[in-house]
């Protein structure tokens, strides 16, 4: 009996040895595993390679990786991810092996990681920048656009001190895609005064992708993509949360925000989070006067829940955003004469004592988002199904006659349904496919009763997009290629200048593609380069808009309006083409012990670029107006971004950032208007290191904003009116671009901050005091539309208290 057992054992052992021999011969071993960050959250997009020249791969959305067809032997495995120190391990592979790797944040890159930090959905070969950790925390309470301005290459278009739109490499509005928690943000974002309806407090990191590619996210992203990524929900039982209280001196604002999150004990894998923010601010103050009616208030909340099992999960997310923003009262103008008066006055007209009251002109915007996501991993395949619903309600109130003041002058409801299906397949250790379908159904309707001719028409918009993205991972190289096809259909019903109904149907179709590569240079550097095409159909405002925007005494009208008859022409006869961009971006990043470097250069050539071109002067019964018409041209945007950090010693570090951009209307050989000026930032920071439970830091910096010298000629409203009175139309004589006012001079702004952290057992308390524009510089910023009327805000002190548990 014993003998037979031993015999059996020997046989089994021998057989398995034989098997393993066979395996050796065929190299069929698999090394799989999961990569986590320091907070034990799975890290997506981390690179895993077998050194010195074995295969490599990247982790999927759940941090999983799999390297197949390996031979038996000794290997060195390297795992790396931007912002984290790379990890190496010697392994002996005799059979299939599971590996769990935890990456530690790179101390030079992220000194204070508050929340878990990863960038889902970012491809390795993308050129991107991220705002997270203490850098994100230091922007808390600021609007999304202003927060993103911390990144090199990102600027803002402003309307007053509270309305910021992000500008990536000189492009904004419909040319920048914002993914709010994975859902394409859909609002009325055609106007320069339409800020994204996102509360940045929901995010644990903000990522800006600067490639035009963004094949996965859909069309339109000619400038780039902004990802607003919340932290992953907890999977383990227990409660956690954060609470923030922030006050600012300049506008008397008080901002509170917080969240509570937890994991269920009973249902392992069930996690939830409830989050909310309340913001209230009064008038901002320029150094010399109050900027009347620039206060705002905002309330928002979000609820999230997710249930995860080993290879599948679902998550639900609901958020609501509500804001009421005042627009400088002195910017309310009726005609060019009013504009001339408003521009010549300082302080602006109707400057009143400081108040929290918000009167017309103002905007009232609500945005509601519902998202349901299900994902499953089955062997080599990874499936993701996502449904999103958004309702955006925008009302803009102007100074109107009598009881009309209570009625919005512009009001729209935008309903958007999106359905995304994505399939990722790891065919092979070095070869990965990612295919998907994006479907969108959108309805825009005017809010009845505005008693104005609607600025844009009602429409029903259906879109479908298909994409395929193939990725090859080699030892030092990662190469990606993608293709996308889009179909879009609009059914439009609106009213022309004479309040007559028109209806039309518009179709767009397009194919775009991308090729990109990343090359690892040494142990700490990587070089990426991409060439991508992107397209954007003219949006409905560009096609049909009629009327004037808040705080712009100019008439705008769309590509499809006939100048002579002022009637709407059919799309087929208009010769309007979608914008076509070809963007090349190359970047190099280096993460050393002392030096961190991130440099990128780009060239974006856009055919059929749509912009507002001055066309002439008209005398309506309300007075003289310049009028602008959306026009197509060819434009180029070229520039470079640089971020550099250097650790002088254990405690001292320096940081510098530079954004440089040259934009041009190539066809007309003219400058474009509202192109952000070049700027540079330099700062020095001291970190105390941890002494018992306390640590503190101090930082001071200088921001230099150059004068925009590449700006179009100037025609003041006064010159326009005087010439019109003499029967001369200055614009019809020469219809090259012009600005009402010369670009403002450059400026240096000094800021400083100190912060202290108490890390108790389970509670972390942080206090931060920051000062902005410390020398109370009087200045104007080229890309702020308020610059025609008033100075920028003066000195501002911010006090923030942050509690996390």
């Amino acid at each position: 009996m014993q003998k037979s057992v031993r015999y059996l054992f020997t046989l089994a052992f021998g057989f398995s040895s034989l098997l393993s021999l066979a395996q050796n011969a065929q190299c069929i071993l698999t090394l799989s595993g999961t990569v986590y960050d320091n907070e034990n959250q799975p890290l997506a997009g981390a690179t895993v390679v077998v050194l010195p020249n074995g295969p490599g791969t990247t982790t999927n959305n759940r941090g999983r990786f799999e390297l197949k067809n390996l031979c038996e032997g000794n290997y060195q495995i390297e795992v790396r991810f931007v912002g984290f120190g790379s990890y190496r391990q010697e392994i002996r592979l005799g059979q299939n092996k599971q590996l769990t790797v935890s990456l530690e944040p790179d101390e030079t890159a992220l000194q204070e990681v508050v929340v878990e930090d990863h960038a889902p959905h970012v491809e390795a070969t993308s050129t991107f920048n991220r705002l997270s950790g203490h850098e994100l925390q230091e922007t808390m309470g600021k609007p999304l656009g202003e927060a993103l301005r911390q990144l090199a290459g990102v600027n803002t278009i402003q309307t007053g001190p509270a309305i910021f739109k992000p500008v990536i490499h000189g492009l904004h509005s419909n040319r920048v895609l914002i993914l709010n928690n994975g859902i394409r943000q859909e609002g009325q974002n055609w106007g320069a005064e339409h800020a994204p309806e996102v509360d940045p407090f929901i995010a644990s990191n903000l990522v800006v992708i600067k490639d035009a590619a963004a094949i996965k996210y859909g069309s339109d992203a000619l400038g780039g993509v902004v990802l607003v990524n919340p932290a992953e929900l907890p999977r383990d039982p227990g409660l956690g949360g954060q609470f923030h209280l922030i006050g600012a001196s300049n506008n008397g604002s008080l901002i509170t925000s917080g969240f509570v999150e937890g994991g269920s004990k009973k249902w392992k894998g069930l996690g939830w989070r409830a989050q909310g923010s309340i913001k209230k601010a009064g008038d901002s103050r320029a150094p010399e006067y109050v900027l009347s009616n620039t206060g705002f208030e905002e309330q928002s909340f979000s609820l999230a829940a997710a249930y995860h099992k080993a290879n599948r999960g679902i998550d639900v997310f609901v958020s609501h955003f509500n804001t009421n923003i005042g627009i400088l009262r002195g910017s309310a103008t009726g005609n060019a004469e009013d504009l001339a008066n408003a521009m010549e006055r300082e302080p602006p007209q109707q400057t009143m004592p400081f108040t929290y009251d918000i009167k017309p002109p103002r905007q009232d915007v609500q945005h509601t988002l519902f998202k349901l996501n299900a994902h499953q991993t089955a062997g080599k395949n990874d499936y993701r199904l996502q449904y999103g619903f958004q309702l955006n309600v925008r009302s803009e109130f102007d100074q109107r006659r009598g009881s009309l003041v209570e009625i919005p002058a512009l009001g729209f409801r935008l309903f958007t349904h999106t359905l995304d299906l994505e399939w990722q397949r790891q065919h092979h250790a070095r070869f990965q496919s990612n295919w998907g379908i994006n479907v969108m159904h959108q309805v825009n309707e005017k809010i009845d009763g505005t008693q104005t001719i609607p600025f844009i028409p009602n429409f029903t918009h259906n879109a479908i997009g298909l994409f395929a993205l193939e990725k090859f991972t080699l030892t030092h190289w990662t190469v990606e290629a993608g293709l996308r096809a889009d179909l879009r259909n609009y059914d439009v019903a609106g009213f022309d200048f004479q309040n007559q109904l028109y209806r039309s149907e518009i179709h767009f179709q397009n194919i775009s593609g991308t090729v990109s590569a990343q090359r690892i240079v040494g142990k700490r550097g990587s070089f990426t380069s991409s060439l991508s095409s992107a397209w954007r159909p003219a949006n409905l405002a560009e096609l049909y808009s009629i009327g004037t925007h808040q705080s712009a005494a100019a008439i705008e009208y769309g590509l499809l309006l006939d100048e002579e008859t002022t009637q709407v022409v059919p799309f087929e006869n208009s010769g309007v083409k979608p914008e076509q961009a070809l963007k090349w971006v190359s970047g190099f990043t280096y993460t050393g012990n002392r030096l961190t470097l991130d440099v990128a250069a780009y060239l974006n050539y856009i055919r059929h670029f749509i912009y507002l071109r001055p066309r002439g002067v008209t005398s309506s019964l309300r007075g003289v107006y310049p009028y602008f018409r959306y026009t197509q041209t060819n434009a180029s945007f070229a520039g470079a971004d640089l971020s550099v950090g250097y650790k002088l010693s254990e405690r001292w570090s320096m940081n510098g950032k530079l954004s440089y951009l040259r934009a041009r209307d190539v066809e007309e050989n003219d400058f474009l208007i509202f192109i952000p000026a070049n700027r540079a930032d330099i700062s020095i920071r001291y970190e105390s290191g941890k002494k018992g439970v306390v640590s503190w830091y101090a930082e001071s910096g200088l921001r230099w904003i150059a004068m925009q010298t590449r700006a179009p000629r100037v025609i003041t409203p006064r010159q326009l009116i005087d010439a019109t009175a003499q029967g001369i139309d200055l614009i019809a004589q020469n219809d090259s671009n012009f600005d009402f006012m010369a670009a403002p001079a450059g400026v240096q702004l000094l800021h400083a901050q100190v912060g202290i952290t108490w890390q108790l057992k389970n509670v972390k308390l942080e206090a931060r005091l920051a000062g902005e524009n410390l020398t109370s510089e009087s200045y104007r910023e080229y890309t702020n539309r308020m610059r025609y009327y008033a100075n920028e805000t003066g000195r501002n002190f911010i006090l923030g208290l942050h509690l996390s548990f």
Partner: protein, 203 residues
Amino acid sequence: MKNKLFSLASLLLMAGALVFLSGCDNDDPEPENVPEVVTKVILSFTPTGSTTAITVTANDPDGEGPQSYVFSGPAALARNTAYNLSISLLNELADPMDEEYNIGLEVKEEADEHLFFFGWTGPLFSNPAGNGNIDNRADAVNYTDTDSKGLPLGLTTSWTTANASATGTLRIILKHQPDIKTSTSTATDGVSDLDVTFNVTVN
């Protein structure tokens, strides 16, 4: 359990997709009344003691569209004659039976927030003298109507033409001055609701 959850999620997604594909309504939107658009201004100069007015109009059928307004010739006034001027503001995008048609009535109702300013070139009038109150609010204009606070409005005014032939222009500005209309508020305060210039002859 997890299978059930997953299928539940899929079901919800399918339901979403259904909502998605349905619900396209193609009804025409309702047109808005546009009570703030002035498409026609009529000046009626009525000689004192007469009922026959001399009228001139400025017509801008596309409102805020890029086409400029057109006049019906100069206002031909007789020399050394006293006239009452009344201004009609019409919105011809509205039906003549609608409230929105006669904007002058609305301006009258909200007289506390509105003020007409007048300015002229050439020696058109003997009374008021000067060139009007657009450049200087203190200059003379003979308002014959007032708001509830006793401040002038300007829908009706009185004029006496010069005793010699003259040609010139008459510019009329209507300012919307909510909360800021005073006895000294000027033609550069507030927002312009109307800014129109007519040719005038005196013979």
